[in-house]
Subunit: 361 residues, 5 copies
């Protein structure tokens, strides 16, 4: 559950625009890869120095530079100098607990999003900040760790006939965002399965306390998802409306579609939140119901036998019957014991009828 | 309850605009029917190939092409080519877990809605995606399964004097949406009956736990309905306001009416949600009340008889009265037993008065 | 409680603009009355046929046609033809479960409202749809049943010096709406009394379960009121803002006042809803408190006497004291019984001090 | 608690603009006072007839006419005639349960506010309607009862060097509203003290039920305050924005300040509401906790001694040991009683270990 | 917890714009320091009289005058005269319970914010009002107490190459606000740790009541934080949008970044509020669960042994077996005692099976 509570205080007092990486060093080495393509040609390289990617941007073809690992601040410094990126943007790329946002500059657009990954072993959602800079004919993406979510996209680029090969850098940026949003659906499917399984468990009256912890955990994950997805809606909505010369008109139609997907993610998160609350309510009601049942059993048993025990207790007393005829004459009755049993059965029966009338039985 | 949790992940990584049907294959064969009409003439056909419907669109009369079953992707490919429909629209038609939405294109309008059907046997709401393309003089509708909800509309078209025969494709689209919204009322009536019956049961203090499950189920259904109807409001509101040359002015008045109906549906869903919450509150309060009553009975009985049993226990002790006059002299009293009874009745009476004063009796 | 759950499904599949009355036939005969007035003259008639009212509209004086009972559809058909009312309006007049709304047409305004009446016997709010058509110099009102709420208005019209005689049809329409809104205050006063009485009952710790049912009922009524009044606000707000040539400028000032009243109604409904929730909270807390008290009494009595009974039980055992000096030697002690009592009183006293320390006593 | 539930129904059916006082007659006699001032001169009078105040308005100096008591309707009639006040305004002044509002007329502004006073004896907030008419160079205020809240203002007017003497009627109106809003802070301070004291009581685990009633009462008062302050925000916001020639530009800056105060009042009311809810939650949790503790004590005692009593009961049975060696041979054992005690202590000890493991002890 | 409930009533009835300090005197002496800098030079002084700072403002370099301690009202009077600050602003500076706000004047901007400090010893958040006046080439800040939060900023100014030395007074004002907002992150980190630790405690089923008090306390702190941060968002949003000649265009980009930080603070506060509620829910559910478990143990033990004790009680009765063969013949049976044990074990076993079936064991 450590994902929700990230330290923010590392940089307090520093000058705004300072280049300091606030996250953990999640990968050993920074990996820089570049894909350069247009309708005819396609080049893929893994380079050692960020400077090696600069020539690609001078060409007319679309260049996608992907940087995995953020702890080598000099790389960002060089990007800042070569592409004339605002220092605050560089600072934001390095602060890996940003809220999703979009910023429009004269010759580039800066987008921050969060990528989610469900850790099957620990049953937690891990999140990673993915920053994206869209320039005239290049896209630079920054990831905290090396990941494989962009692999399908790389395959689509490899396909000579794909739309992406015929489109510009704006379509590439859209495709990257689209894959990130699609990943939310994966998380949602996992959480949806969890909700269904919890719902069934609670409906079957399983009473182990683990369920509460699972619901609690689920609500946390949903809260966390919500925190990442609501601002994403604004990001994509701004991308739709802002008239930037970097976004071509035919790409807008695709961004609209992406917006619909984002809305659907948010909608589903909200629905799941309500469902999780509903399951908790159901669980609490079940506990109350069961407590009620337990109490009834206790009450019925105790209410029947406590008076009977009292009567039995009476005739176990040792008052001296020899001294006086007033002392426990019943003990000397011929049918005393029979009368005792009749009394006992009578009281028990009466109480049972009383409970039946109260609908406790 | 599987309707709310649909898998979204089937298509992750695919290129946007890929034509892949994500739903289950719900019908064996795709059924294509076409109705072509104007004020004077009316033709109805069931055709085998989608190409057979294309000639109808060239005429001035209104053509309604209805396609039941979506698993034959080639049909959509041909529609895409013939009517020049945007690939993202085709993709949306095939992704059968869309949120209701509307999209305006230069020469057609694309609307996605969800149709609800109450499954009387399983007591669940089934939902189906209905997509609609409104062109200059044609309407194409896509259903996941063959259904009969459009039958009344077909009858109205058959009636030579109906307004629909005198109106264009925009009125036909309106009429289709109107029937879909009217169907929500059917669902609402069923849920309303359920709410009333639950309310009565809870008011009558029926305590079986099944009620909680029913309320839980009802709240789910309402959550589900709400998720489908809120976006519908936006869809129809956009249809009202957007000035498209495909919608004639006199039709707008009807769309306004449809908007009012949608608002009424949403209103009713929200009211039902509050009512369901109210019933749950009432149920929980009833449980508390009954638990309280159970506790009181137990407490009264136990509190009266436990001290009495103790007294009876005392005089059942076997201290040797012979050894010393201090050992249980009461046992030798002439009226010992009578005094015991007076004590007993006195204590019981006192406690009863105490309980009466506390208003427990 | 049947008012909230009205059937909507009666008309599904019918052509929009069909003239079918969906409500119950609440009155035997339709009653048509007409009042025609201007500053100088005043005429009142009850007519048999709707055609008899048409001549009044041709004059310059203001005509108020009131129709009680909606089951004779032909009347509405004739109105539709004579006044050129849109068929959807006629349909709405006949569908008596409309949400309050306003629609502006070129030569008339159509307003739907709901009138509330508190049924003193059954303690339910009955609601009735009142439709109003405001034309150039006439107002037509439609009621489901014959009622007397407009009587004060008729008296004001009878008064030669009243403002209403000097004003036009728009002022008459305002006056009708004003009376309807004023009636909400009547309902609110009744509900306010109920809230106060419930509040007092709960504060006095009255514990009968009937209170929960009353609160539940009250919340329902408020939910129902809210559903009718929120849209009314929009209706009157639109009446204020929309610039229709049918509404004179000096009447707007009165409509503003009416708007303030509507806001006050809504405000009061919301406040009452919060108060009702507060009362339910108070009730639930009282139950918990009382349960706690019950439990304490039980625990104190049981905790004191159960150990004591055990001790008494010990000395009621029949171990053979003759066989061995280890078998219950206490029974043969000279002061055994006195020691028993000292032990007993000591334990009881100790427990009482323990309970006092825990603040249970 | 009678303040929140005022009767609204007194005037139903009356013509709008009827002059009828709906409140109680709270003062014996109507008191009319007038203060006329400018930078140089200052006059104060108490007059008998409203007509005596009219001359002051003709002068250039600022006149403040204050009327305490509203039951003499003729006074308002004369004001209506002399100042040409709209009849609906007069009606609103007389209806003393108005929601705060502002209305702009050509030559005057009408403002309704509610003044709060905390009744220290009965621990309730009393509210009074204060109406204010701001004209070109006069302000008329209407109070239900004679009060002293305006005394500090009168002193400031008496001070020759005060800003108020150099400013116009608009500044006077602002100063009156400012004093009314400042009074809310007084109420809030009282409620804040109450919240703090309740919070401490609940944290100290005081369990008397009176606390619930106090929290309930507090929430009511806050609900009531909220109802009066939210609309006030709108009133002052409109005063800020509406460009009326009656409000000078330099006064707007002061109105802005007043707006900030109003926001602060609302903010504090909302915060207090949340705090009150928090206290109720804390109280409920405390009850649950204490119930839990009570139950544990009962369970521990009962669980230990009930089985022990059963064992003691066994050896109190009178099976005839003489008849058969199978009948209760333990009674004849040499160490029977010692074994009984060992068993007893063993069971009790085992249960104590069990409870300790369950963390009940 | 005294921070949330500050007295507002000190100044009621005073003329608006009165210079009276409403806070406590938190420092002994007022400390006035001035930093004057531009790209080339830097001067730092602590002065005794406010007049000594005035010459710095006449120069072109940026002057930052910081005043710690507000109880010497004459200082503010002199500032008011020298800089022509509106009296209402001076009043606001002195009223140290302001809501964060911004006001634009012709030649200066006035901003109120609240600075938070976590008191490690008392576990409360202390808040202090920081006012800021931004003029053409000067910034004046007012603090209630002397603090060290601006020290990092002073160091940045001391650095000759820092951006701040190359920028104007608007950037200085931004940097001050940025440090204040960054401080919120510090508080949030502390609260985040508290939430995590509470969450763990509750998940581990720790049941001491202290946890409830901690959650209650935490919710209060969050409520308090929220009250200070929501208006801050508006403040900074206005700073962004309002086109003031005092804010240079390149500074706006930094203000945007500050706005994002503020949003992140608010977002985190809201998330923490939800998390705190979630923990409370979890705690309550745990209590219910544990109560349920306690009840089950009691019920199982009591239900098994109460009937058995009754049976043992029966055979402890002293009916005279000599008188009649009907009186307790079982006592004389050869295997009576064995039968008794078989009965006993049978009943206990049956009940255990019953409980197992009910899943209580």
């Amino acid at each position: 559950m450590d994902h929700e509570i990230r330290k923010h205080s590392a940089k307090i007092g520093l000058s705004p625009g300072s280049f300091i990486y606030t996250g953990e060093k999640k990968v050993e080495e920074v990996k820089i890869s570049v894909i350069d393509y247009n309708r005819q040609h396609l080049e893929k390289h893994v380079v050692n120095r960020i400077e090696d990617t600069f020539p690609y941007n001078d060409s007319d073809s679309v260049s996608w530079i992907n940087i995995d690992g953020l702890h080598e601040v000099e790389i960002l410094q060089k990007i800042n100098e070569h592409y004339e990126i605002h220092p605050l943007v560089i600072e934001d790329i390095l602060s890996t607990n940003q809220r999703p946002k979009i910023e429009f500059f004269d010759n580039y657009i800066y987008i921050v999003t969060r990528m989610m990954k469900y850790d099957e072993k620990q049953h937690v959602i891990n999140s990673e900040q993915i920053s994206l800079i869209l320039g005239k004919n290049f896209v630079i993406t920054f990831q905290e760790v090396e990941g494989d979510i962009f692999d399908p996209l790389r395959q689509r680029i490899a396909n000579e006939n794909g739309r992406i090969r015929r489109s510009g850098a704006d379509y590439l940026a859209y495709a990257i965002l689209d894959i990130i949003v699609d990943n939310y659906f994966l998380i949602l499917d996992t959480l949806g399965d969890e909700i269904e399984s919890l719902d069934e468990k609670v409906l079957e009256n399983a009473s182990d306390e683990g369920i509460v912890k699972q619901i609690h955990h689920l609500k946390r994950e949903l809260l966390f998802l919500r925190k990442s997805t609501w601002p994403l809606r604004e990001v994509i909505s701004n991308l739709q409306r802002e008239e930037s010369k970097l976004i071509k008109k035919q790409t807008i139609r695709f961004v609209n579609d992406l917006y619909d997907h984002t809305i659907q993610v948010i909608d589903t998160v909200e629905t799941y939140r309500e469902m999780a609350s509903g399951i908790l309510d159901l669980y609490l009601t079940s506990i109350s119901n069961r407590m009620n049942e337990v109490m009834k059993v206790l009450t019925i048993i105790a209410t029947i036998f406590i008076p009977l025990s009292f009567i039995a207790g009476i005739y176990g007393m040792n008052f001296d019957t020899a001294i006086s005829p007033f002392n426990m004459p019943e003990l000397g009755f011929r049918y005393g014991y029979l009368i005792f049993w009749m009394l006992t059965v009578g009281i028990a029966g009466g109480l049972l009828i009383f409970f039946r009338k109260k609908r406790w039985l």
